[in-house]
Amino acid sequence: MITIDNLNLHYDKTAGYNTDIKETSTQVIFDLSLTINEGEKVAIIGPSGAGKSSLLHHLYQELQGNAALCSQRQGLVDNLSIYHNIFMGALARHHWLFNLVNLIRPFKKELSNVSSLCQQLELDQPLAKKVDKLSGGQRQRVALARALYQQQNIFIGDEPFSALDPLMASRLLETVLKRHKTVIMVMHDRELAMSAFDRVIALDKGHLVLDSQQHSVDHQQITALYQTSAVA
């Protein structure tokens, strides 16, 4: 489905908040080759700063139009309600006129769809509530619901459960895995990653250090990965 060959990614510091021109871009991914097949459920793990998000966004860009992204930045629109934020997932399915009218007066059918999706994600808030009134965990589930509402075959998630308790996280992960053919997800929880996904990829300092498809992975190896990085 997607193959990347000797990928090198640079993070341009000048594009961010850092406006100092002397700072040049830093490399975050080094010579990374990877093939992901249709139907695979892939977890990406690794210590912070390993380049997981950069890799994930690159994959999303490559799959443009065929994947739903649930990014760490969430990208919720604070002035809109829960309903409208989730409906944003369906924008591509409707004519712009439908979308504009829906912005002013929500359609019944869409409302009931969104409402049942919220129930599945254990989000028991009134749909008309603005998202800036929500807690971190609730916001995260709205962002997740929006990605699910895109109804794509491929789901790309960047730690979509980081603000949820472990039990809820595993329940929601099950929902996500069930609703998508292919799932690529950066996981915060190593245990969950290894138990729920059929393939685990580990990154460290921009290098692919582990791929469970090729090696059999034991827990010690992964724990060691996090420890060495923490020391360095």
């Binding site: 443009q64 139009g65 739903a68 992204l69 649930c70 990014s71 930045r73 969430q74 990208g75 919720l76 629109v77 604070d78 002035n79 809109l80 409208h84 409906f87 944003m88 997932g89 924008l91 591509a92 409707h94 004519h95 712009w96 979308n99 504009l100 912005l103 962002a143 929006r146 990605a147 895109q150 794509q152």
Partner: protein, 503 residues
């Protein structure tokens, strides 16, 4: 010994804002001798006591057609703002194009009064003149400010929206929805400005509150004038009660119904104005290009520039710079007056009321009042501009400073104010001040109609002498001057990049 030496040499350079502040005051001091600021009136106190008398005994029933004047003032403002929104919003989406932004800067730089003087020649005293005079500069302002607001919104919602969605859906959900409250707040603020502009159009004869105000003040009927002023301030101070956004549609319908009849536009007049009246005589009299007397055209143009445009521009800049310095002083005092960090809450209400009065009265009317008191010189204009702009900036700064939590430290209120509050708000206050400078320059030109020898004075005289070509050239000069000052001040100053759009 060496340590002592070091201590002696410790020099403490001036901070950036200290330098900026000192330069503003220094420039004002340098140009002061060149400005015409004497008090010409022999007995200002006689006039003052009569005015205070009038203020004490406002007469609300002296004005005939008072209700109609209020309605027309509101009508022009509502229709002007609505048309401005209709024209300006689409422009905001393509504002990044240099031609669009250039044109908008030019249109914005011409004051409502000059637009009105121009349209007056074509449409006469028709409501069309008043509405268009507000619509055009407001559309240009909406275009720029909306563009800035939309640009400052985050891109991250767009990232998660399916890229196959059409551009209109992506833009409304991902961008517009984010900034809708800011857009609404700015529109509300501009409505307040439109009410002021609408009133000021009365000074050139439109049937708004300003017309009756001018008449009353000119004839010395201060009780009537005071009543009109109080009504006007109350109108602006209570906008949020009588014009909630939900009722805007209703008001729009009312405005269209109650608008005095629009007389038919005489198209031959329009054609004549464009093809004959606004052309300089050397061009208008020539039927073919070959007959144009280039030398007389050149003489006309160079005389106009050297005798009117340059002296007018110099007076405009002088007045604006003086007004900037005095505004700064007024702002500091007015802010201190209404700050809750200095005074108990009931006293700050009084300060807020003074700020409301200061910012509600159009500077034009303030200048008019001071002109009666002090006689014709630059002084009334400087005072009027300083009071109005000082109060506007102070009002916005007080909003910010009142939201700052006091330091958890044992210190007196005054120390708290000087060491914590002022340093936190000062950069923002100065930024507001420089954004206001563009507006000061723009307003400065208008004082010409009151007889102060700025560019506006020459424009007004040319209109009354039916020399439209001269007036048009001078209006263009005014606009170019404003655009140049705007560009220059942006280049020179590193202003904090906050959204100072509500200014």
């Amino acid at each position: 010994m060496s340590q002592l030496q070091q201590v002696k040499n410790t020099h403490y350079p001036l901070g950036y804002w200290q330098k900026v502040t000192l330069s503003i005051l220094l420039i004002a001091l340098i140009i002061l001798p060149f400005a015409d600021i004497e008090i010409v009136n022999f007995d200002p106190f006689l006039e003052l006591t009569r005015m205070v008398d009038g203020l004490m005994t406002p007469d609300f029933f002296a004005t005939e057609y008072l209700f109609q004047a209020i309605i027309q003032t509101v009508n022009f403002a509502i229709l002007g703002v609505c048309l401005g929104l209709i024209l300006g919003t689409p422009l905001a989406l393509i504002y990044q194009h240099p031609i669009i932004s250039g044109c908008c800067a030019f249109l914005r730089a011409i004051h409502e009064i000059f637009w009105a003087l121009l349209f007056l020649q074509i449409f006469g005293l028709s409501p069309l003149t008043g509405i268009l005079a507000i619509t055009i500069p407001f559309a240009a302002t909406f275009a720029r400010v909306f563009h800035d607001i939309i640009n400052q919104s985050s891109d991250s919602p767009l990232e998660s929206i399916d890229s196959r969605a059409d551009i209109i859906s992506r833009f409304t959900y991902g961008k517009i929805a984010q900034v809708m409250p800011q857009l609404m707040a700015y529109t509300r603020y501009r409505f307040e400005c439109a009410l002021r502009s609408s009133a000021v159009l009365g000074f050139i004869g439109m049937p708004t509150l300003g017309f009756y105000m001018e008449t009353a003040f000119r004839q010395g009927h201060y009780s009537e004038g005071a009543a009109l002023l109080i009504i006007f301030i109350a109108l602006i101070g209570t906008i949020r009660y009588w014009c909630p956004p939900k009722l805007l549609g209703v008001y729009l319908v009312i405005a269209c119904v109650t608008l005095i009849d629009i007389p038919n536009v005489d198209s031959s007049l329009l054609v004549r104005f464009i093809s004959q009246d606004i052309l300089p005589s050397a061009l208008a009299n020539a039927s073919r290009l070959a007959e144009v007397q280039w030398s007389s055209l050149y003489t006309w143009f160079s005389t106009l520039i050297s005798e009117q445009a340059i002296p007018g521009a110099l007076a405009t800049i002088t007045l604006a710079l003086l007004a900037l310095a005095v505004s700064h002083i007024v702002t500091l005092n007015a802010h201190a007056m209404a700050s809750k960090h200095l005074w108990p809450t009931p006293l700050t209400w009084l300060g807020q009321l003074i700020l409301l009065i200061g910012r509600s009265v159009p500077e034009y009317i303030l200048a008019f009042i001071f002109l009666m008191l002090l006689g014709p010189s630059m002084l009334p204009a400087v005072i009027a501009l300083a009071i109005h702009n000082g109060c506007v900036i102070a009002y916005l700064t007080v909003k910010q400073s009142n939201s700052i939590a006091p330091q958890q430290m044992q210190m007196s209120k005054l120390n708290q104010f000087n060491y914590h509050i002022m340093p936190s708000i000062y950069p923002n206050m100065m930024a507001l001040m420089f954004y206001r400078f563009e507006i000061i320059v723009r307003e400065t030109a208008v004082f010409g109609i009151l007889g102060i020898m700025t560019l506006g004075f020459y424009i007004d005289s040319n209109f009354s002498e039916i020399r439209y070509s001269n007036a048009l050239v001078l209006i263009t000069c005014t606009a170019l001057l404003n655009v140049a000052i705007d560009i220059l001040s942006r280049r020179l100053l590193k202003l904090p990049k906050t959204s100072q759009t509500s200014c």
